[in-house]
Symmetry: C2
């Protein structure tokens, strides 16, 4: 694209007219003057593409050319930027993005799965073709977190990035607490409310949030995207008892993503954690998202906003579009794709206190046996409490001093062989924030 | 500046080597490789300028050329970007920025007072000279709020922007509450801790925070910076009783900046307000800053971080420097300076509930008189409470239904003439967040 003193309109091709696509069309139509004023040039839509041409979406798509085939959209001469809102980590979305980048188009996508799987290759493809690939909408909805990290905090070495980035999980956990309802009941509520993906494990299994974390890690630490290295643990095993016990100790349970560079490699985990209820992370209610970035100069920055929905996600897409309209051209992850390093995954996480909840057979020496196993595993106990009970099963809560996940895993394995632990113990990390 | 395929180093000239200037020098020195990787070119320092050449600042300035005169710094051929960290709304800082912009340099400044007074003219000067003038560090320290608003949320029409942007005031208010100490005592503490400006009224009078609000308003609403239109009220009259009474009703008192476009013009105020203690604004403790941006698409975005200090402020300066190094060139306030509109100031603010605290003479009919005055002023009462007392003075708390600041001002004036109100009543807006 040449850079005349008065650039012409930036022409969009939108692939995918679901909630977010409709939101983007609305913003472009309703804020045409405002966008032109801010970008210094008009933003227009040339063509759209979706599965159904006739579906009533509450917007008029007649002014735009129609394509049945997204790849054809990516080849159109009257499209400068392809907006990929189809979803899916392979297939049509990938073909669309690749075609667009190799046909002189910049790309804006909200597709976290695609980038978590193919982000390194696509970033490279964008650079070799002199194009821009941007993805603000893929992480934490309307929160400008990619921009903040890549640009605003570019003077910092990032020490840690954390986030609550799946609104459905946070809705379920906070609703369990506020209504005193068990997981299964709230899960069904969420399903009925349409909060869950077609495959709910993408949400409650932490996969969707893990995709997002892997993208933030790449930016934060200059490492190649490595979703497979993200330690994933879903929220399905969290009980209302866990939530209440955590609250009694001053903590909230969150599906928390944490990435940090350690002496043993890059640690990436998306797991339920205890966080202090006084920290903004602990106070986060419902479907809201939050990302916490810790830089060596800036300290702790907290960004909070809607993590999904038509308006917020479309807002993020438009932020990227406006940047492209204004001529900003940056590598996808903030530095050239071929400089992203292959960091080893830190198998053993940094140490932390742990919350352990288990049920013991109520017989002499059971508690002592547990304490001995912990000691032998190198885990020392900060607090231990056995609750009153009516049957032969005694609920026990233990908070440990700092221990690694390996030490905890070892202890849990030995609990299973101890003959005194009933069922599966729950082990949750207490994240220092 | 030409744009070769491999741009040379971006060369800085730093005017002012106080806390922030030292922080910038440290980042450039310590993160040279990281910055070059991210910017695609080295960031170097050519020259520095400060009041004392020999003062021990804990950094080695020998590698940099020295200028006694900031204007001479702004004229140097080996400087691409002038970083203005001198402060002051006129005089040397203004001359420095003007000289830099007219001598082919981009400018990064942390000077909110300068921009609140001369931002429109300086933005215009930058544009007519084809230069960039950036000021992330001038508002809310390390929080990338300017970038988020100008760029990340560029697809939104902003509905309201709010912020707690003076850490000293928030420190004083939260310390009063946590320690149960009166204003004067905590003020002295803050002074001894070095939290206060040489002229404390810049902090506790709301002027510094008002400067910042006026800059956010310009970006949010596309209006010329109009600091004189900011309604200012300091925190000096807030008593420990106010803080306790507010807390009893579920509110915190914050020096809160609010800007919104109304049917009657642009409303800008920096005043102590009650905000719900459950909102992130109400939970903000100590010297931390917070900005809340409400966009028509994105909803409510909350940004939180350190509002001052060497590292955070230097981080913001470096964010601007990195943008310039990467070739981003935007108008200072997000749209061309000559398109910023002159919005009339909304003299009458939007309606709100109000907190009114006063002391009444304990005589028959006093409370009725107050209630009548409020009714006559068009202010209806939501809650009213008279507290038990030992002397002839009865403390009274009133929470009103929605009323304008004009209605409240009218009622307050009549309270003064009523013969039953002792001293000055306290009136605080309850901001709906």
């Amino acid at each position: 694209m040449s850079t005349p003193s008065r650039p012409g309109p930036l022409r969009l091709g939108i692939a995918g007219l679901g909630t977010v696509g409709v939101g983007v069309v609305k913003i472009v139509a309703q804020h045409a003057d405002l966008l032109a004023l801010r970008a210094g040039r008009p933003i227009t839509i040339s063509a759209v593409c979706a599965t159904s041409r006739t579906k009533d979406r509450g917007i008029d798509i007649a002014p735009y050319a129609w394509e049945d085939d997204p790849v054809a959209l990516a080849r159109r001469d009257d499209v400068d930027v392809v907006i990929e809102l189809m979803g899916g980590e392979n297939g049509a979305a990938k073909a669309l993005v690749e075609t667009a980048l190799t046909h002189g188009k910049d790309v804006v996508t909200a597709n976290k799965a695609l980038l978590a799987r193919h982000g390194n290759a696509l970033a490279r493809l964008a650079e070799t073709n002199g194009r821009t690939l941007r993805f603000e909408a893929a992480v934490a909805g309307g929160i400008p977190v990619i921009k903040s990290m890549v640009e605003g905090l570019a003077g910092n070495r990032v020490k840690r990035v954390m986030g609550v980035m799946n609104g459905t999980c946070n809705y379920i956990l906070t609703r369990m607490e506020s209504a005193g309802l068990p997981y299964d009941v709230v899960f069904e509520e969420a399903r009925k409310l349409g909060y869950l993906e077609a495959d709910p494990n993408l949400d409650v299994g932490g996969i969707d949030a893990g995709h997002k974390l892997s993208l933030l890690s790449a930016i934060a630490f200059g490492t190649a995207v490595d979703f497979d290295a993200v330690v994933l643990q879903g929220i399905g095993a969290i009980s209302i008892d866990d939530i209440k016990l955590a609250r009694d100790m001053g903590y909230s349970i969150k599906l928390l993503g944490v990435a940090q560079m350690t002496g043993r490699g890059l640690e990436q985990r998306m797991t339920p954690c205890l966080v202090p209820e006084t920290h903004p992370l602990g106070q986060l209610q419902g479907g809201t998202n939050m990302v916490v970035v810790e830089g060596d100069s800036v300290g702790q920055i907290v960004l909070r906003g809607a993590g999904a929905g038509e308006g917020p996600t479309a807002s993020a897409v438009m932020g990227d579009v406006m940047d492209i309209a204004r001529g900003l051209r940056l590598p996808t992850f903030g530095q050239p794709a071929d400089t992203l390093t292959e960091a080893p995954a830190a198998v053993v996480g940094t140490g932390a206190s742990w919350y352990l909840r288990m049920t013991l057979l109520d017989k002499p020496g059971a508690l002592a046996k547990i304490a001995t196993i912990l000691g032998d595993a190198g885990v020392s106990i900060d607090r231990m409490r056995q609750y009153s009970h009516d049957d032969a099963h005694a609920p026990v809560l233990i908070v440990t001093h700092k221990a690694t996940s390996d030490d905890i895993a070892l202890a849990l394995a030995r609990f299973g062989e101890s003959g005194v632990v009933v069922g599966q113990p729950m082990a949750l990390r207490i994240e220092e924030v």
